[in-house]
């Protein structure tokens, strides 16, 4: 009997090329399939076109459409996948409004293997509950 391993997919949404590169690498090292886009508008468009991801890593501060508004739109569209917010912003009110837009979790930048481990664990825990 063979067990089919299904790779999980992540969408990295960040206008910062360094963050995109690092976060993409973090996920790929864990065997995830990763797509990266540069702002919230591109992320929303992917979902509108029918693309689906297991997890979205959403930066907060981005041009065109920021993380708060992109998350709000995705949830309004009925997107139920895991959305994890990341930001270097330390203002508690701004962070609260980001979480309130519909995040499943929030982490301060920069991400590292330990933080990604917690993100993935949280994702799997949620997955099992559903």
């Amino acid at each position: 009997m063979t067990t089919k391993l299904v790779a999980h997919s992540a969408l990295v949404v960040d206008d910062d090329v360094m963050a995109r590169t690092i976060h993409k690498r973090l996920f790929e090292r864990e065997g995830w399939l990763v797509k990266a886009v540069v702002n919230g508008h591109e992320a929303v468009e992917l979902f509108r076109q029918g693309d689906r991801f297991d997890l979205v890593l959403m930066d907060k501060e981005m041009p065109v459409l920021d993380g708060v508004h992109a998350t709000t739109e995705l949830r309004a569209m009925g997107v139920q996948c895991h959305i994890v917010g990341v930001t270097s912003c330390t203002d508690s009110l701004e962070v609260e409004s980001f979480i309130g837009a519909g995040l499943d979790a929030f982490y301060a930048k920069p991400l590292n293997p330990a933080k990604l481990g917690r993100i993935i664990q949280h994702f799997h825990d949620d997955d099992r509950r559903q």
């Binding site: 963050a19 690092i22 690498r25 270097s88 930048k109 920069p110 590292n112």
Partner: protein, 149 residues
């Protein structure tokens, strides 16, 4: 007697970047993402850092020419640059960014000007040290990636 002193030189150079406060733990986290499939990952990230920094520093330079200073805009640029510094573990430069942002909040043109000069010097020093380090590390080969002493 060492047959090839280069690996030790590279290791010492790397350690000095931490001991002298140029780099922090984030750099080590990046080194841990390096493997046989991505043997030059950290250098690639460093190259992105130099490019991003050049753009952001040029924006800040331009904004610093304005009178009066637009502190909100400067703070925004510096937040972006600080983010880049955090991503690579550029500890001293990041500290100058924090100081600059405090002067922005205080509305101090003199503080911003002085700190920006410090920051550019620290950035320039870090860039030279990293470029030298990676050049030497390449000579040694990918098997000599990060060994914490």
């Amino acid at each position: 007697m060492e047959r090839n002193p280069l690996p030790r030189q590279v290791a010492l150079m790397r350690q000095s970047l931490f001991d002298q406060g140029y780099l922090d733990e984030q750099f080590v986290q990046l080194e841990e993402l390096q493997d046989n499939t991505n043997p030059h990952f950290v250098e690639e990230v460093a190259t992105l850092f130099y490019r991003d920094s050049a753009r952001l520093l040029a924006n800040i330079d331009q904004a610093m020419e304005r009178t009066p200073l637009d502190f909100a805009k400067l703070d925004n640029y510096m937040q972006q640059f600080k983010g880049s510094c955090s991503s690579i573990g550029a500890k001293k430069v990041k500290s100058e960014c924090t100081q600059f942002r405090e002067y922005c909040r205080a509305g101090s043109s003199e503080g911003c000007t002085r700190t920006f000069q410090h920051m550019k010097r620290e950035y320039s020093t870090l860039k030279k040290k990293l470029e030298t380090y990676f050049q030497l590390a390449r000579q040694v080969g990918p098997s000599n990636s990060a060994s914490r002493s």
